[in-house]
Symmetry: C2
Subunit: 246 residues, 2 copies
DNA sequence: ATGACGATTATGTATATACATATTGAAACG
DNA sequence: CGTTTCAATATGTATATACATAATCGTCAT
């Protein structure tokens, strides 16, 4: 991982970008501490010899990113770091496994189409009955089970799923590409493996597992609920917090 | 929680905002599916009866948010949903406990100032030796232990921490407000409680725990490494993914 | 056919300008 | 002395304009 060294004459960046990263740098380095008033737009206009619009765009962006706060008549101020929020990347399991240099394989354990029961509706957040598809499967990294997946698909939202076997392809990648932009909620917790899980993952009952549950909506409609269960040793989630690039 | 009902005549939003949310809505609802070419700037200019700059600002923002992709000469296209990223809110533990309606209390178990050893340097990501402060403490929710905290503070970066006892205030809230904007990396995993942890949290050895580790840098300098250990039942992390508001 | 080239087109960036709006500080007033 | 009023000021939003840049398409010569 070699970063491109700052070329002295790399003048390919726009002025807007330069103003933005200059100020960002001053804030992150602590040169301008929280509460500090950063120069007025007209001062930056003079400093960078550009129009106010250009400066304004940069500052608005920093404000949207939460690094500064802008107050009419008073100026712009460095905000104090607030509630730590981190961005959690949740890749497809295939990607994760292949990143480990291991061959990936998916194997379906169970497939069941049924009218939704109360439990299904609770998991999906559905208020009315309808058909659901219940899937269980295993993701392998090489010969070892990597994650156990329990999924519920709302067939009212994705009818075509009813025609798929999901024998060797997991529903996750299948759903992406078929369902438009969606919202999701994740819940992450630790859990002791019960009989079913221990059996599937080939670990001892009671062994600690990491559980990631995801509920997905598209255009306000519940699409799927999925639970990934990882043996504790096999998986660590990584989240980064970098004061937004704007 | 009552949301303000959409007032018919709420014309307080800027045109820029209206264009932005109009298009966003069309994408999220699936009206404009991934791959669809959205109207050219000059078409939107006509539709909204505004200048190209205004339209351009809105589209640029959607592009930055990752919802659309812009190609010169070709137009702007709805992107297909990519790697699921979710925003994980990591609140102060006091906040979490109080949200449960329980009284919060912190209790220090150990405080140790020493010259960094190899293990310390590995955890903090330090290359040179120096003083570190090692802390262990318990966060209580009511009478029950809620989380066990193991922390390492780089005293070269935050010298004042050496003068603090951290008897009844955790180092986390103390550090915020003293350290400017920072970067952080989180690792989340499941773990079986060892003797020390089981003892501190008053749970059985081997019981599953959720572990959140955070490394923090400020202006490239390692500041602190902290490990929060939660009994599996007491804690669930929640992360949301909403296609960026731009 | 094939490849080179130039015109066309949509976006990218920047400017100068205008007026709206919120807030502050000072002057005017009771 | 406290309150009201008003002008000054920094930001917020929008316009019209200009030129740069990248990609595409059609034309033309080979």
């Amino acid at each position: 991982m070699v970063e491109p060294t700052d070329m002295e004459d790399s003048e390919t960046v726009s002025l807007h970008q330069r103003i933005l990263s200059d100020i960002r740098e001053k804030i992150l380095s602590g040169t301008w501490a929280p509460g500090h008033r950063i120069p007025f737009e007209h001062e930056l206009t003079a400093e960078y010899k550009c129009s106010r619009m250009t400066v304004n765009k940069a500052l608005s962006q920093l404000a949207k990113a939460g690094l500064i706060e802008r107050r009419r008549r008073s100026g712009s101020f460095v905000r104090r770091p607030q509630s730590q929020a981190a961005v959690l990347e949740l890749h497809d399991i295939r990607i994760e496994v292949e990143a480990l240099g291991l061959p990936y394989r998916y194997e379906r354990l169970e497939r069941l189409q049924r009218r939704s029961n109360a439990g299904d509706r609770a998991l999906l957040g559905l208020s009315t009955a309808g058909s659901v598809l219940r899937l269980e499967g295993l993701h392998f990294a090489g010969e070892r089970p990597f994650a156990f997946e329990q999924r519920l698909i709302n067939l009212s939202a994705v009818a075509e799923a009813g025609d798929e076997a999901f024998l060797e392809i997991a529903a996750g990648p299948w759903l992406i590409g078929r369902v438009p932009w969606s919202e999701a909620e994740h819940r992450i917790r630790a859990m002791a493996a019960d009989e079913t899980i221990a059996d599937a993952l080939d670990i001892d009952p009671g062994a600690p597992c990491l559980v990631v549950e995801r509920r997905t909506w598209s255009a306000e409609h519940p699409v799927t609920h999925v639970r990934f269960i990882y043996p504790a040793e096999s998986h660590t989630l990584v989240a980064r917090f970098t004061p937004s690039q704007g």
